[in-house]
Structures are given as C-alpha cells and as structure tokens.
C-alpha cells in the first residue's frame, strides 16, 4: 500500500508518463512509416 502522491509529485510522475507515452507514439509512427516506405 502506497501513500498518495502530493500535487508536485503527481505533476512529475504523470508528466514523465505523458512524455513516455508521446515518445512511444512517435516511435510507433516512425516505425509504421519506415515499414511502409
């Protein structure tokens, strides 16, 4: 059981997660273009 994150911890954690998500999305897009080239 983990104690809840406070606002700035949430900001960092979910910000990092969003970064990871968009980078992965970009990677998948590039890979898709690469395969269809």
């Amino acid at each position: 059981m983990q104690t809840p994150l406070n606002w700035w911890q949430k900001l960092i954690a979910y910000g990092a997660l969003a970064f990871v998500f968009f980078w992965t999305l970009f990677g998948l897009f590039v890979f898709w273009v690469y395969l269809n080239q």
Binding site: M1, Q9, I12, A13, L17, V33
Partner: protein, 322 residues
C-alpha cells in the same frame, strides 16, 4: 518466518559485516521469527512512501543514469534522422535542429557526454568495489554479476506467474531481469561507441586493423550503428519504460532514479534478500516492520522450541506429544 538457507546466509553475513551487537542480533532474530512465512502478506500490508523508503542507489549512479537518459534520447532524436535521412519523417526532424550539419555536431557532442558517463560509471563500480573489498563489506550476491541463482530465480518467477508457485523467489539487490538489462545496455553502449568512433576516426581504425579486414569492419560498423540504436530505442520504450512506469506497483513512475530510494513494498516483493539486509543495517526499519506486524496482526506464532523453557505462553496450548 523460517528463513531459507540462502536468506539465513544473507542475514548472518550482514550481521557479521556490520558488527551487530548481541542485543541487536537478538532483536533482529526475534523480528524475523515474527514475520509471516507468506511474504505476500508482508508487501501487501506494508505502508510505503511512493518516492522511496530504503536506500538503493548512490548519488553517482543517479547522476550517471540522468546523463545516460538525457543523452540517449537526444542522441536518438538527432541520430536516427541522420541515418534515415531519405525517409519522409526524417527531413522535418533534421530541419528542426538546423539541418544535418548542425545535427551532426549536436550528436557528436552528446556522444562525448555519454562516453563520459560510461567512464564515470566504470570508475564508480571499480572504486566502489575496491573500497568494499578493503573494508571487508564486499558481497558477490549483492552485485550485478550474473550467478546461477538468477537462472533459478527466473524459473521460479515464471512458475509464479504461471500460478504454479505461491510466492515469488527470494531475489537479491539486483534480480535476473535487471542483470540482463544492465549487460544488454553495456553491450549496446560498447557497440555504439565502437561504431561511432569508426565514423569519426576511420584513419585510426584503418591503421590499427589489418588492411584485409579494415573495409569490412567499416561496413559492419556502418550497418550496426543505426540498427543497434533502433534496437535500444525499442528496448527502452517497450521494456524499460514498462518496468518503471506501467508495471503494477510502479505506476505512474518509479522514483528511484531521482531519490535513490526504493519503496519498502517493492524491496520486499522483488528484492527480499536485500530487505533482510536493510533490517540488519537500519534500526528504524526494524521498528517500522515491528509496528506493521503488530498493527496488522500478522505476527507469526513462535515455534514451540523457541518458546521459553517452561513453555508457558498465555493462550497457547502445548503441542501434544507424539
């Protein structure tokens, strides 16, 4: 809790290395005896601070991770559009950093920072290990060096995930997955440095290598550099980021790379042997665990032979003699 042979060895070694007093040793043993055999009960009930409770990485390792992490992403962002310059997606990315010529300079500068981070890491692990050996605190099981136990742990963990085991194996500070990941990253780094240096200094490589293989070597390096980069990017995106962001218990982010601390819950689940060392080394952690065991009524009754000599413990009937 009745400790396994491995766990017993870890506790005894840690007690010896830390020169724990007899009184503290008794306290540790009493606490271990109180712990339930089912470790799942421990990590499901313990209260953790998500940004970390127990020490794991030194400031040096955190700086190295940060340097590698930032340079890796920036290197991929500048390098892949150079390698795949004729692809439709590469042109806007190259243009975004001021064209291929600028991108190349940024790429090489970042590469030198990443190489610095590698050298820094080599210094840290060499000097850190030397210091531990000199002070008598070195434990092979506590390092990232792969051991036969890791193969056993991998098998047992797979059996646990398949529902054939009740508990995950008792793993050490670095589990099998982390060891594979670490050496894959080290190998990848070496490939990238070697191939990158062959682009930058072809003359030097040509003078070192026999003339018969120098052109093939260059060609091999030219192929391996972008493809190793692509492989590394996929590993980071689909394996590392899953483990540190999306895996149950880690969501939305594992804070160890910033704080150098691991949560109590995570330590108990995936690094139980290291948790036992924490119990020996950190008195506050013993108090924390004791309070949790009492509050959650998880105290395991002591074995009859460990009871006081007269066996008179209130509320417990002595076992019938066979």
């Amino acid at each position: 809790m009745k400790l396994s042979d491995e766990a017993r060895k870890v506790v005894d070694t840690s007690i010896r290395i830390n020169r724990v007093s007899e009184e503290e040793r008794r306290e540790i043993e009493r606490l271990i005896a109180m712990m339930p055999d089912d470790r799942v009960l421990l990590y499901k009930n313990v209260v953790s601070n998500p940004i970390g409770d127990l020490p794991r990485y030194s400031i040096h390792i955190r700086i190295q991770h940060m340097l590698t992490f930032v340079t890796f992403l920036a290197l991929a962002f500048t390098g892949l559009p150079i390698a795949f310059f004729d692809h439709v997606w590469a042109a806007p990315l190259n243009a975004a950093v001021g064209g291929v010529d600028i991108s190349r300079i940024i790429h090489r500068t970042l590469a030198s920072v990443m190489i610095f981070s590698m050298i820094y890491h080599l210094f840290t692990i060499t000097l850190g290990t030397a210091q531990k050996i000199i002070t008598g605190r070195f434990e092979l099981q506590r390092t990232i060096i792969p051991l036969f136990k890791d193969i056993r742990d991998f098998r047992d963990d797979m059996l646990y995930f398949a529902g054939k085991r009740d508990q995950r194996p008792e793993m050490d500070k670095f589990m099998y997955k982390q060891k594979i990941h670490y050496f894959a990253a080290a190998f990848g780094n070496m490939v990238m440095v070697l191939s990158g240096s062959s682009f930058l200094f072809p003359d030097i490589w040509a003078s070192i290598l026999p003339a018969s293989i120098a052109p093939q070597f260059q060609e091999m390096m030219r192929i391996s550099h972008p493809h190793e980069a692509l492989l590394a990017l996929l590993v980071i995106a689909f394996w590392h980021w899953y483990n540190v962001h999306l895996a149950p218990g880690r969501f939305p982010m594992q804070w160890t790379f910033l704080t150098g601390k691991i949560t109590r819950e995570h330590q108990m689940e995936e690094h139980f042997l290291e948790y036992l060392r924490c119990l020996v080394e950190i008195p506050e952690e013993r108090a924390q665990l004791y309070d949790m065991l009492i509050a959650r009524e998880l105290v395991q009754e002591e074995e009859p032979e460990e009871s006081p000599p007269d066996g008179a413990r209130p509320g417990i009937e002595p076992e019938p003699a066979e």
